[in-house]
Amino acid sequence: MSFIEVRNLKKSFGPLEVLKDLTFNVEKNDVLAIIGPSGSGKSTMLRSLIQLEEVEGGSIAVDGDHLVKDGFYAKPADSKKIIAKMGMVFQQFNLFPHLTVKQNLELAPKLVKKEQAKEYSDRSIELLEKVGLADKRDEFPSRLSGGQKQRVAIARALMMNPDILLFDEPTSALDPQLTKEVLQVMKKLAEEHMTMIVVTHEMEFASNVANRVIFMDKGLIVEEGNPQEVLKSPKELRTKQFLNY
């Protein structure tokens, strides 16, 4: 049994079919990069996994529990537990602007997990050190650079101890310098065997850090395999075109 099993996922926005019968697995400790042109359905697919989008057909199982089975969603109480195993990092960071960095990290452990103050306070400092931002703990997000914001967002997701992290184009809003500092943090997580799915346009990250790559186009998985296969010697014409071969 794979950690995440996706079967025949289907979704439309009105008449537009954005996901057409997607099937794939994610194993524990995988770093899966999803690449493809804009509008290929990558982000929608990722957002479906954590129920930010509702699908119309197919199944999603996480750690053996079905979030959706043949288009039918689990009861809210069950889906809440399934979603709690996942963390998400957004392109636009989505930090809470009215809370300091440290408060951003601590809000969910405090409210959702009802942790003791010492517990979440210790862990937030530890995670901020990990992403190199312990000195910014009392700043508001508006005082941070984009790269710093994204690193805070990663730390915030880690606060909930997820089994898998989903990244939705985490560096697309950043310049190359800031992209680098975010990718470094993600690489460190990969080295610590964090399971990750990363929707990205960073081919270097896909080839150096990911152990699997999926190329999507027009709501379909066109090609998948290890980075060597998909990025260095793609078989499908559309993959070749996208990668400029």
């Binding site: 930090l95 809000l107 969910a108």
Partner: protein
């Protein structure tokens, strides 16, 4: 003009200030939460509730406050059948009109505030596992409140001045007492005193709101 004479004008006017301030406080304290509930009703996914709330706001904003005041103070008791149960104290009836009118304006202010909040804030809350209630109270409302403070301050200052409309329904307040002294002594000084008092209240409000804005600053 000696000090004693000045005080003989001021002291009855202070009686009026009490009514003015009481009306202001009641109206602001009750119309803000009512306005927020109206916003939620407008945004409700239940169509009839949303429609009713929108109609309510349309009527309250689209007709003069003075007309609404006259209706609540003199009109309600004239309604057929239920009128006899609606004979309220004039001050109470007028306060009710103010609350219901200002709630409509606050509802629109809050609606604007909610529109200004990025949907990413809801999504981030959702993936972190926050409940709807936690998202609203811990993430959305604090941001909405910060955004809506300046227009709320604006409405508050309007409300202070609108309390003078009580004059038209014969509820004694600041302006009423000023006018009385003007008539009694044939001097316009009480008008200046009244203006000074309104300005003082507005000034105090400005200070309070500036303080709140600084306190809630996060950018």
């Amino acid at each position: 003009m000696n000090f004693d004479y000045f005080m003989s004008m001021l002291i009855p006017m202070l009686e009026g200030v009490k009514a003015t301030v009481l009306l202001f406080v009641l109206a602001i304290v009750l119309s803000i939460p009512l306005g927020f509930m109206l916003t939620l009703a407008v945004r409700s996914s239940m169509k009839p509730i949303s429609f009713l709330a929108q109609t309510y706001i349309y009527i309250m904003r689209g007709t003069p406050l003075l007309l609404q005041l006259l209706f609540f103070v003199f009109g309600l008791p004239l309604l057929p059948v239920i009128g006899e149960f609606l004979v309220l104290d004039r001050f109470v009836a007028a306060t009710l009109a103010f609350i219901l009118n200002y709630a409509a304006y606050f509802a629109e202010i809050f609606r604007g505030g909610l529109l200004s909040i990025d949907k990413g804030q809801y999504e981030a809350s959702q993936v972190l596992g926050l409940s709807k209630w936690q998202t609203t109270t811990r993430v959305i409302l604090p941001q909405m409140f910060r955004v809506t403070l300046p227009p709320i301050a604006n409405e508050s200052v309007s409300l202070v001045k609108d309390t003078a409309l009580l004059y038209a329904v014969a509820v004694p307040e600041l302006l009423h007492y000023a006018q009385t002294v003007v008539n009694r002594d044939f001097t316009i000084i009480p008008f200046f005193i009244a203006a000074g008092i309104y300005l003082l209240i507005a000034f105090a409000l400005t200070i309070v709101f500036k303080y709140l804005e600084r306190k809630l600053q996060y950018d």
